[in-house]
Amino acid sequence: MDNSKKTVNVRQDFAILATQMNQQPLIYLDNAATTQKPQQVIEAIMAYYNTANANVHRGTYTLANNATNQYEQARTTVAKFIQATAEEIIFTRSTTESLNWIAKSYESKLQTGDEIVLTVAEHHSNIVPWQQLAQKTGAVLRFIKLDQTGKVSLTDAQQKITNKTKIVTFAYVSNVLGMRAPILELIKLAHAKNAITVIDGAQAMAHFPIDVMQLDIDFLAFSGHKMYGPTGIGVLYGKKALLEDMEPLQFGGEMIDEVTQDTATWQKIPWKFEAGTPNIAGAIGLAAAIDYLKKIGWQKIISHEQALMQATFKNLKTIPNLIIYGSQVPEDHYGVISFNLADLHPHDIATGLDLAGIAIRAGQHCAQPLMDYLHVLATLRISTSIYNQSSEVRKVAKILKELEAFFKS
């Protein structure tokens, strides 16, 4: 089944898809690293700079008021996107910054012997901040294992989440295996022990809707650039009471209520966390990306991506020496599939694909502990998005076969 017809409208929105790479049409399949940006997003940024640029929350003139309204409107758009309220949305640089801020703010709240539970499948950005927190407080990290299909093991989670657990954190979707964590169950286990839950949403947001209320998520972190938005803008969602209970992480203009030489008091949430001039154009660009996703609609996005994952599996499965990591069921993969080809080094394969215009990732995907766990040094990774088409993954499979022949000859 070719779904190129369904996607042709979307592809027009992404100018880069019409470019050539190494004299071949670009096939971009590293969407888990960062997605491309539609004209709608780029134009929203341009329009902001060309018609409304001013600093926010400061000026008393109309232009500044317009800028502030657009920025705060972006916050509301983000809030609605995940069923939160605007005051629960803090703009950060990225998922990484959001996770760091949460971890940092728990330095004053954890003690020796407390436990932080995560999974072995986390991205470095959801490991190292917790390692630091553990070092500073004497808390201990505990890693939930995966079952044989690559799923986060609920049996093991039940062992690891105990009365000592203060924080449970995990990627909603793994950036290596592409699989979805059993979020509802994990959050219930955590809350049963009064632990807070921190969800790394980096790989989830572009693929399906997330309702923080219904899932009862305490903190959610994600990046604009992985969901068709600009670089340099991320989101930290936190439940109102939790955010109010957090101290600001950075200090300066905008987050201040009153300052004397020796003292200062803060604004209310969310502003108390946004010190200095924020990435105004970035927030507006992210809101445009959300509007873009909404315009296409989740149903269309999900059915396109599922069909594409099926096509990807079907094509890769025609290569005998290719191993897919994690689940062997296409429906379990949300835009990401990791594999290796015979005993060939991923780096060599990636170069071969690159010469054919195909951009896919080879390496450790910022997940060394998971690589160790899977006993692999590195993998190849295809990650898809709304503008990819089955003809593209077909070409990947064809070139992979040629490369195997080349390196084995």
């Binding site: 190494n22 004299q23 071949q24 080094h345 991923p346 780096h347 060599d348 170069t351 071969g352 690159d354 010469l355 054919a356 080879a362 390496g363 450790q364 060394q368 690589m371 040094l377 590195a378 070139i399 040629e402 490369l403 080349f406 390196f407």
Partner: protein
Amino acid sequence: MTLLKLEQLYKQVVLEHAQNPHNQGQLVMPTAQIRLKNPTCGDVIELQVMIENKIITNIKFTGHGCTISQASASMLTNTVKGLEIKTAQKVITNFLAKISGQVITQADNQQLKDAAVLSSIAQFPTRIKCATLAWHGLAEILENEGK
């Protein structure tokens, strides 16, 4: 067409070095060693050298990585074994110059031995890190020795 370009990168001698690397293994008593890592792809190379009277009397490597990084390490050990520190440093400089697209003299080129073919990588900027990993490592060792 793609395969043609690939052949240019993975010349026969590169593939041979990668499949049958020279000087792979560990030294019993190295005078210096270094661990190198390409964080993008996870390649790791450990270089061990034996330096006596300012001469590299032995050199070996272990590790894992892509064809280019393995072949390059193998070629490096072949090229510098037996050289004085100063000469080895010059050879490394020439190699790095050549691989970044600069022209070097024919004499310098010959001194590179098999590694000379790696210069084709100048056209594949994404792989220069792989091809130079071991060489940068040896350069660091030699700089410390020279101190």
